[in-house]
């Protein structure tokens, strides 16, 4: 999926990853896509089914906040699908209505799904 925000995040990440090498990452072209395209990247799901049959839930991470038809998806699926758009760290804890849940938890309609992590650890990678 490649919304404007996602494209901007990818460009920023590419630049930060290549800072040490001094190589500039090319800015990808901005391309608009809608929510249905976002969700149909999961195999076997038809857009009509998503829009009419999946219930909407609030999805939160950091300052990112939106309502999406993610009922019936697992936490792992939502994490993967929104990791770039919502900048979700791989190790962020998942909550449903404030309660910690596991990756295989299936999401019900009208809940609030939040990924949380306290930020600011320098040692994200080590060298020997």
């Amino acid at each position: 999926m490649a919304t404007n925000t996602n494209v901007a995040r990818k460009a920023v990440r590419a630049k930060s990853d290549c800072c040490s090498t001094g190589v500039s990452a090319p800015m990808p072209k901005v391309k608009k896509k809608n929510v249905n395209e976002l969700l149909t990247s999961l195999e076997g799901i038809q857009p009509e089914k998503i829009v009419t049959e999946r219930g909407k839930c609030q999805l939160l991470h950091g300052a990112n906040d939106g309502e999406f038809p993610i009922e019936g998806m697992t936490i792992a699926q939502v994490r993967k699908q929104f990791e770039n758009e919502f900048n979700i760290p791989a190790d962020a804890q998942a909550l449903i209505d404030g309660q910690e849940v596991s990756e295989d938890t299936t999401i019900k309609a009208s809940v609030t799904v939040e990924f949380i992590k306290i930020l600011g650890s320098k040692g994200v990678r080590t060298s020997e």
Binding site: N64, G123, E128
Partner: protein, 227 residues
Amino acid sequence: MKNMRIKVVGCGGIGSWLIDPLCTMLNYSDVKSEVTLIDGDVYEEKNRTRQNFTEIGAKATVTADRLKERFDKIKIADQPVYVTKNNIKLLIKENDVVLLCVDNHKTRKLVSDHVGSLKNSILVNGGNEYTDGNIVVCVRKNNKDITPPLNKNHPELNNPQDHNPGDKRTGCQAMQVSAPQLIATNFAIASLMLNSMYLIVNNLDDMKYNEVNVDIIINQSRSVTRK
């Protein structure tokens, strides 16, 4: 006149942008303040890309010296040391307001556990990744948590995988490689911490949040009350 003792732990990417406006706010307020800057690191030329300083040297000391010339109503002190388990009880005391601007969870856990053992304390933690970050405000009053401690909603702090620079490295312990940082993100976090200090100085009861998240890509922040 209200008295306030403030300990700023970390004078780097976030702390160096927080300290000047913090002292400006305190110098012209009705609060009689003592501000202690705590950091064992030194400013180097490479830090000029995103840290606020004029002189190379021990971060806490050169910053304190610079601020003493500007602000005559605040008592400003420096402790050019890293916070460790051996010195934390001397550095952070009962009734302190701690502004935690460090870049590792080891120190966060150490400070959080210590302020959690005090009867009265306020901890404002700030941290960021490349384009996003958050602050968490932890208040203790009369030996009770008024807001959750730092690790309650962030259990990743219970077993930090990074390193406190004040701790000795043993054997073949690997050097940490810094993740790249942006001045815009550091500054955004410093601003959020200053916002919370405004309420702490004026009326903490007006604070309707205990966590604020910010993302500089979408240029948005979201405040949260966690239980």
